[in-house]
């Protein structure tokens, strides 16, 4: 029988063995589709234990497929049949394609329901496909290790432990990879998984080294997938900006002190600036050095100390001088050791500039708003009889790769700004006080992120009382302003601690 024929025979055999598992997976996917389209739960109920169902089913199914013909077991039935080892391995990998196909089918249905154009579906679906393949192939490698399938347990424990360690270590590590590098590493790990799986099927006895390689490759793939989902890809502006760097001394005595540098001389019309992937390197006069990660409350993203721009509504923002502060918390002993005269301090990082743009203008009428962009659904609820509360706006949107450049993906809560618009003059007026809450989740599997937000809009102080009048409502609209990325660039600055 030809090699292709052997692949077909094993593939069909596996399909006949696990069809009921595939049916379960399909049913879970259909439930997911229904849940995220027809019966949308309230914010807070959207993401929970249910999201683990699909990954667990995939884990179970792929393990069953691999363990039905385990590699490196001389008493395995397939090994006593005229089957090329590569044909068996490829047949197993094809099952992961079936699994991925099922997931993509469901995801496509969800995206289409949410108004994503057919042309935009492949980009988003590809991310989901790679995410699902990552889970399936890493599971296949784990399941292939060891004679009795213990590899799956060891692999899962290792992966979970690594994820926890990564969550602790990455924010304070100076060795952060860029989004592109993480994605490249991810693809490399995926390729390694496939090679190792093929190799395991060829081997008659798996050495400890190959078992370790399988565990590392499988866990590495999942880690890179998670890291890549958190990394952003920006169109970088070429070149490096070199602002002035100065040191500030925190006047408040404390046991934990921030080692702070101040970036001066950034002239930009941007209304928000975010420092990303930044490190401070301190070289002491004795030649020893220390790399400090720049931290913020969102861990991966530095705090923004640039004040929001104040400008006339509708007016184009003007360039202005900015000062950004970046700091790294240290204990008092280290802080004292590093802040010695003559120490050379270097700052390296990426700055993302945001500008606010009007995204949508909506009348003050309760109901579902027309989509401002594909994948975004908003509903406005006017509050009757409450003079302090004008309205609530709930939003849910599916973020594809491009949407990761949005500030909400960076953990910023000041994503949206709401301004009153006079319907008669069309003039954009005062800003409404907005209290936002919400959360992030993934669409059943890694790949597509979902964001739910709820904003409570309060009228300006001077309009309290009058804003509860429906005739006033009909005379006004709300302009929803969103922050969008304007520019992303590398920054390098140096200074010496003064004597």
């Amino acid at each position: 029988m030809t090699w292709g024929g052997q692949v077909r025979v094993v593939f069909v055999k596996d399909l006949q063995q696990v069809w009921w598992m595939l049916a379960l997976l399909a049913a879970a996917m259909v439930m997911t589709v229904v849940r995220l389209t027809v019966t949308q739960p309230d914010i807070g109920d959207s993401f929970g234990w249910y999201d683990t169902l699909l990954p667990l089913l995939i884990l179970w199914l792929v393990t069953a497929v691999v363990r039905s013909d385990p590699p490196a077991v001389s008493t395995a039935f397939w090994a006593t049949q005229p089957l090329e080892t590569s044909a068996v391995a490829v047949a197993k990998l094809l099952q992961t394609v079936i699994v991925t196909g099922l997931v993509i089918g469901g995801v496509t249905a969800i995206l289409r329901w949410w108004g994503i154009a057919w042309g935009d579906v492949p980009t988003t679906a590809t991310v989901t496909a790679i995410g699902t393949m990552t889970l399936a192939i890493a599971t296949a490698v784990f399941a292939a290790l060891g004679a009795n399938g213990r590899g799956i347990l060891v692999g899962l424990v290792l992966t979970l432990a690594s994820l926890l360690a990564l969550g602790q270590w990455l924010p304070v590590s100076p060795w952060r990879l860029s989004g592109d590098a993480t994605r490249a590493l991810w693809v490399a790990f995926l390729a390694a998984d496939v090679v190792i799986l093929l190799r395991l099927y060829r081997m008659r006895e798996v050495s400890l080294q190959w078992q370790a390689a399988g565990l590392i490759a499988g866990a590495g793939t999942v880690l890179c997938a998670v890291a890549a989902s958190q990394a952003s890809s920006y169109p970088m502006t070429p070149g490096v900006v070199a602002p002035q760097l100065s040191m500030t001394v925190d006047p408040i005595p404390a046991t934990v002190k921030p080692f702070t540098v101040t970036l001066d001389g950034l002239v930009t019309p941007a209304e928000q600036l975010v420092i990303r992937d930044a490190t401070i390197r301190v070289v002491l006069p004795d030649g020893t050095s220390r790399v400090l990660p720049v931290l913020s409350s969102e861990n991966r993203y530095a705090a923004v100390s640039a004040p929001p721009a104040v400008r006339s509504p509708g007016a184009a923002p003007q360039p202005r001088q900015r000062t950004l502060r970046a700091s790294s918390p240290l204990n008092i002993t280290e802080w004292t050791r590093l802040r010695v005269p003559g120490a050379r301090v270097t700052f390296d990082g990426t700055i993302v500039e945001f500008a606010r743009e009007e995204q949508q203008r909506v009348p003050l009428v309760s109901g579902v708003l027309p989509p401002a962009q594909p994948g975004l659904q908003r509903e406005l609820q006017m509050i009757v009889g409450d003079t302090a509360l004008l309205a609530t706006i709930t939003s849910r949107w599916f973020m594809d790769q491009r949407a990761r450049t949005m500030p909400t993906a960076l953990g910023m809560s000041t994503d949206l700004e709401f301004r009153l618009v006079d319907r008669a003059t069309r003039a954009v007026g005062e800003r409404l006080d907005a209290q936002s809450s919400g959360g992030f989740g993934t669409l059943a599997l890694p790949g597509i992120r979902i964001s739910d937000t709820r904003a409570e809009l309060r009228p300006p102080q001077r309009l309290l009382g009058s804003a509860s009048d429906t005739s006033w409502w009909s005379a006004h609209e709300i302009a929803i302003m969103a922050l969008v990325v304007r520019r992303v660039y590398r920054v390098h600055a140096e200074t010496v601690v003064g004597r």
Partner: protein
Amino acid sequence: MNAVEVQQLCYRYARKTEALHEISLDVPRGAIYGLIGPNGAGKSTLLQCCAGLRYAGSGSVRVFGADTRKRSPIVAGVMTYMAEAVKLPARMTLAQLEAYIAPLHAKWDGALAASLRERFALDPARKVGTLSRGEHMKAALLCALAPHPTLLLMDEPFTGMDVMVKDDLVRGLLASATDTGTTIMVASHDLTELETVIDHLGIISNAKMVVSASMESLRARFRRVHVQAPSEVLVTAGHDTGWLGIEQAGRRLSFMADASRTSLVPEAMQLRFPGAEVEFSEPTLRELLTTLAGRAGARSPLEMVP
């Protein structure tokens, strides 16, 4: 060209435990080669090396002249291998199992499979996972025989089989397989069943090949000697260094020795055991095994064989 040629084969598990040490053997085409030895001697490992399921650390295994490292004889379609501990797909029915593997074998004989199923009283609708150990072995045997292999390797094929089927298998299937030119290599503890069919024997002990030869030459080479004499005669005569498997109880002494030794000539025996009754017989398979492979605490069989 022999069906199987093994030269100086060494194999270590996890590069540590020595499972096979400089094993050499030849299995002629059309032969039924019995491989016997104590538990853990290396029989299954040797068969797996011959099947290309394990790669030798050193030495070579050739099946019909082809190096098994370069091309698995199973994949090449010249061999089927029935492993003792083989795990058939438990969720499949027997009919599904046959339908799965039939297209993989160029010479799959559906009629033979049906006949074996009937002979073994196997229900095609039953799931493999529900079969008893004996039925499981029968199903594995069916899978090994139906493709009409040129070379058939069987590891403990009689395990769990009832006497009727064993008898049927031994006298019918193996004999007919030999008639059609199939070479068979079988490892088993079931010496009674083996003795009636094998024409070549290999004894393996402590990872080493003790002997590998045709049954004819082995029977011609060794003699079992039974001496009936007064105890004092037996004590006076003592034991010769070339005697193997010595058993003495009262007036009776029994041992195995190389038939070519001059000390076994009747006149020499009479001189050594005056007035004794001396009988010679061909050693049984059990005697060959227990004597040549040695029991626990015995000297190395290789040292004992003259």
